[in-house]
Symmetry: C2
């Protein structure tokens, strides 16, 4: 006797897709993109095919303007690309399908938009209080005791060290063409 083939109806598939859109949409804000952006991206990813603005609007129940702006942001992020179909004047949009590339793209953008500016600012702040360190602390020339400044600088230096490490770590992932993240995971699992 034969095992019955799984019967997946169109409705069930659509339901699974909708649940996925909701889940991914929720995750979006944690990753630095808005809920709607995440949902549009999720739709294009899980759909697995290029869609035009109307399809996106109708499926997600958002306005034309919102769809347009959101798709533009996704293109700026590098998560979505425009596609043209012969004989169709509409513009189509498709999402990158390789999850590791998606991850690298997000990391690259967040480094650029969030980590680097903070790093630059931290350097500037560090410069404001000279190169006095715990070791270099000497006779009291300042109005504030040298050791207070030294402690302040130490705290800044430790933080700078951390942020620099995060930056380098991120760039390592982004830079290595292939499966950088996968490699990292493998290495880490063997080390400890």
């Amino acid at each position: 006797m034969r095992v019955p083939a799984p019967k997946i109806s169109a409705a069930k598939l659509a339901q699974a897709q909708d649940d996925f859109l909701a889940a991914w949409g929720q995750m979006g804000p944690s990753w630095g993109i808005s809920r709607t952006m995440a949902e549009v991206h999720a739709l294009l990813y899980i759909g697995g095919r290029p869609m035009n603005a109307d399809e996106v609007m109708d499926r997600l129940r958002i306005s034309r303007g919102n769809a347009s702006m959101t798709l533009r942001s996704l293109i700026e992020w590098g998560l979505v690309q425009r596609v043209h179909k012969r004989g169709d004047r509409k513009e189509y949009f498709e999402a990158e399908q390789d999850v590791w590339t998606i991850a690298r793209t997000i990391i690259r953008e967040r480094l650029r938009r969030e980590i680097l500016p903070v790093l630059a600012t931290l350097y500037e702040i560090r410069d404001q209080t000279g190169d006095e360190t715990a070791h270099a602390a000497q006779e009291g020339g300042g109005i504030v005791a040298p050791d207070v400044v030294a402690a302040h600088n130490q705290r800044l230096d430790r933080l700078l060290e951390l942020v620099q490490m995060l930056d380098k770590l991120g760039e390592r992932f982004v830079g290595s063409e292939g499966k950088g993240l996968r490699l990292a995971a493998t290495v880490l699992s063997k080390v400890v």
Copy 2:
């Protein structure tokens, strides 16, 4: 002739601190905590000593209520601890001073609050469309062609793989007591 000692005035130090508060506050939202929370944490970190609610209020110009709720959240996150001073009825708060511990705490909390729920939801969604894969695709029992379902499942599986990896990677950092992050950085820098 003698090099003059750096003269850091109290005002300059305060200025550097203020700039730091602003910079760290900006970074907060990217890390999953609000701007004010990040500023309060920054103040306690850079100050390097326990402070009471009034000091926090005055320095950051926020209301008593806001200070109270923000400090409570920081304690829930595990980034700040209560301290009692003998002979003083006020409560004092101090920030963890080890930056690696801070990083681990943030990663642990974000895993727990953001990654794990999504992971659980993704599993549920994956279950909705059976175990049909590209290889198992067979005679058309469903209303939707089996290969469509198989492709959908593959996309979900690839995403699950990625999120699982992130989760494991995070837990590895959080779990290893010592300098897990530092170790990772060293390892990564040698690999590529």
